[in-house]
């Protein structure tokens, strides 16, 4: 069976597990929505500053929710030492990376797909925003690329829940900057060319960190 089949077996396993437990989608989703609401009160975006402040609020919500769902990804593997079970399988460590990455991405994106329309409604924006969808998609790939690596790492430390944000957040600063800018432009009604630079930055980040994380992943797993 090929690389892709095994990686998708891992993805499917995560999806199935989540369908049964419904942990990520419920708790992470609720948390994300709460952040959205609370930060709205904290920043109270008036109509003038709406675009950029609103964009910031959205990405804060995504970042916090993202950290939670990443935590869950490898915490699940720690129970019953499933991660050891995976490592016993005759598969390249890369397969494990891409499989878990697919799972992390899927859950983060799912939560974001639900939070975004809520955000747009709360901030009185149009609901049809494909460009926003693209920004969210690309940025989430970056989050997941680095997040999967650090989730595996943090899961093997003490204080694993706090370790992940400490490790992860400095690394995704470029993505957050670019995503917030791009989102602000979209909400302001800017053009594709206005957004282009930011999208390129996110894309470059994605490519670089997918490559680096995939290469370094095996060092995190081994004992």
């Amino acid at each position: 069976m090929s690389f892709a089949t095994k990686a998708s077996a891992i993805l499917w396993k995560d999806v199935l597990s989540e369908l049964r437990a419904r942990e990520i989608v419920t708790s992470v989703l609720v948390f994300g929505l709460l952040v959205l609401v609370v930060f709205n009160f904290a920043f109270d975006p008036g109509s003038g500053t709406m675009a950029i402040v609103g964009a910031g609020i959205l990405w804060v919500a995504f970042t916090f929710a993202g950290v939670l769902s990443l935590n869950r990804s490898f915490a699940m593997e720690k129970e019953n030492s499933c991660i050891d079970g995976l490592m016993l399988c005759p598969v390249d460590r890369q397969v494990l990376y891409w499989g878990k990455l697919a799972g992390c991405f899927t859950f983060m994106f799912l939560v974001e797909i639900i939070i975004t329309p809520v955000f747009l409604v709360l901030f009185n924006q149009s609901l049809w925003m494909p460009r926003l969808g693209l920004v969210v998609l690309l940025a989430t790939v970056g989050f997941a690329a680095v997040g999967t690596l650090f989730s595996a790492l943090a899961a093997n430390t003490k204080a694993r829940d706090i370790m992940l944000p400490i490790l992860f957040l400095p690394m995704i600063v470029p993505v957050i900057i670019a995503a917030v800018e791009a989102t602000g432009i979209v909400l302001d009604g800017g053009t594709w060319s206005d957004m282009a630079t930011w999208l390129w930055i996110i894309l470059a980040f994605d490519v670089i960190f997918l490559a680096v994380s995939a290469l370094v992943f095996e060092f995190v797993l081994e004992e």
Binding site: L153, N156, A159, M163, L169, V173, P174, I177, V212
Partner: protein, 234 residues
């Protein structure tokens, strides 16, 4: 216990150690002299501008040290010789002190000159991210149960973190051009200032090397002590 294969960092009290320490001392005295006695006071910013001659070298060292962390991390993951991890770790110790000083001296300089403690420009933001990365590098090691695993995790951080810094710099730089501020360092440096700066940079670089060598040889000694303890207690 894993052998720490010697990769030739000079030992404490050896010839190179004293040479580097001595040279660094001399250069530092020279730098202090130049900075406080020789260089004229800058007209717009006043006396506080002299912090610049320390702030810049410290920033340079902070980033150089992380480059060394990166190299050490790659070498460690590749060769599994703990001596490389030692170098990375020691470099991180010096580096974080430097960046902390950068983050302290920066605002001290900025406030009287620009009227603001802080600005999110590319250099300062990259420094903050670097500082956070250093913290993570050190923390991950202490929070991992087993030493060689901690070394591996820290190495991963060293590699990913190092690649991240230029990207942060680029992103913030672009961000800043969208939201320009007036807080820009302008102009060429007159020769007196340039020479003072260069001497200062040289002095700090040598100091970094001296501290690095000392820290590495100290770790080597600790390692050796542990090894001997085990042989005896066996």
């Amino acid at each position: 216990m894993a052998q720490m294969e010697d990769i030739g960092m000079a030992r404490r009290g050896g010839f190179w150690d004293y040479l580097v320490l001595g040279a660094s001392f001399i250069l530092m005295i020279a730098a202090l002299g130049l900075v406080f006695l020789y260089v004229p006071t800058e007209e717009t910013m006043g006396v506080v501008q002299r912090i610049f001659y320390f702030h810049v070298p410290l920033a340079w060292i902070g980033f150089l040290a992380f480059f060394v962390v990166f190299l050490g991390s790659v070498a460690y993951l590749w060769k599994r010789n703990i001596a490389w991890d030692n170098i990375a770790r020691s470099s991180a110790e010096v580096g974080i002190v430097c960046i902390t000083l950068v983050l302290i001296t920066g605002p001290i300089w900025a406030k009287p000159v620009w009227g603001a403690w802080w600005t999110w420009d590319a250099r300062l933001t990259a420094s903050v991210v670097l500082w956070l990365t250093y913290i993570a590098y050190i923390l991950v090691r202490s929070l991992t149960l087993e030493e060689s695993r901690g070394a591996r995790f820290a190495s991963v951080l060293g590699i990913v973190g190092f690649i991240n810094v230029p990207i942060v710099f680029l992103a913030v730089h672009l961000w800043r051009t969208q939201h320009p501020t007036t807080l820009v360092l302008k102009g060429d440096l007159p020769p007196t200032m340039l020479s003072a700066l260069l001497v200062s940079i040289a002095a700090f670089t040598l100091l970094y090397v001296a501290l690095l060598m000392r820290s590495v040889s100290l770790r080597k000694l600790e390692f050796e002590i542990k090894r001997l303890k085990e042989l005896v207690s066996d």
